[in-house]
Amino acid sequence: MASGLCRRGPDSAGVALYGAAQENRFKLRVKLGEHGDLRAEGRKLADGLSKIARVIESETIAEYQRFVVEASCDPKLLEKGIEEIGPQYEVVSLGRSLEIIKQVGSPENLNASYPFRKFVGTHGIGHTRLSTESRVDLSHSQPFWAHGVPDLATVHNGHITNYHKLRRQYEQRGIRFYTENDSEIIGKYLAERLSEGMPLEEALKASLMDLDGSFCYLVATADRLAYVKDPFGFKPLLVVDTEDFVAIATEEVALRTWVDSRYEAREAGTSELQVWTLSETPVAVGV
């Protein structure tokens, strides 16, 4: 599906994949740098991390260090601890099931670096990026993990026009931003709403009022998947909802890379949102 959309966004590609959760374990993917041989950086990070958490697995894969650690600590403190080891380290994803891999370049290149096609899981969201305002690098690529909340990831198509205003307010409350990409704000917004105790569906509904501009975004958690479309319907979003699977994409051309023509695609309506909860049903998605 991502390859089907690559023409739309050739700058970078990424996926947030949800695999089986292990009891009392966090999976982490930490960015070591933008390019080059980063194994020494990885070793340094692994040494540092072993002082603050019980590391079960540690591996350098291209720009990332992948860890499995014992989930006995507060995820926020764990992330802070990693950032204190060195400012170059950025936690790209943290969760019980979530793993994000993203990179500058095409989905084909991403798959060559991290063979995600072999990943076994329940659901996922993906993105190909056409940068309009912010830098093209790994950090600015999507999906975004909503720092602080394990397993919460978003992808966004559009432009959040009150981004600067909202960002200022969040920063005044001590929330750190990792990029200048306006899409990052969606995860921050949802993370804050969820931490206030708001159910996901309510938070998504509230975002229709609180976020301005054009947006279709997808949200995934360990067991939920959702989409939201802005009140003016500025951006396209096609949905195939069947008994067996759910597939969502910006364009039908991406769906038709694997979704049979027997399954009808429907354009999501304005101000529309839908949430699915994971059962035994396998799910596939992409924006």
Partner: protein, 229 residues
Amino acid sequence: MAVVHCDGKTTKEINQEISELIAKGAKTIEVRSPSARHNLAVGLLQPVELLFKGSVGYYCGGMIDGARITVQGSAGWGLGECMMSGTVVVRGNAGNSAAASIRGGTVVIYGDAGARAGIAMKGGLLIIEGNCGAMAGFMMQKGTMIICGASGHGLADSMYEGTVFLGGEAASLGNDTKVCDPDEEERRFLKDMLSEHGIAAAHSFKKIVAGRRLWNFEKQEFELWKEVL
């Protein structure tokens, strides 16, 4: 019948192949596995018959003048945009802005249409058998829209001229609309048009036209203008 296979071809190659077949005198062309590619059959100026076996992407049949296009699948945004004459028929659903700015011809959608269907129509006929999204017929200037199902918010907002017939309910009407009952001639027209396209029309239709209060600025209607602008 001439056949175009799309697999492994670019949009440009497919459109070129269609043009070459038309130049050679093909009257009917079947296009197989279009796989929702964009910009197919745009700007065709000949009375050719085209059948897409599958979904098409954005702007299919845009700016055509006389071609007859059938899509056995769904269509993306801007279906038949700016067409002059001819027919575009979609068996499935259509994305946003179907039949935007058409000047003539007929667009038929058997499924649902997205937002802004028939926006800025300048003539022609748009028929939607299913439902349509928000802001259908926005700033329409001429032509006719028949919506058999329900409509989203802001139906027929700020129209200059033109007529919208609605079979179902509208989530809300747009600014400056006037709702009335179709007269006998219009009821006959609706019946004829729907039966011509094989659409059962058991229900009655409401007719929506411009209230004409936005045509000229009136100071005493300042509140209405404030709302619109």
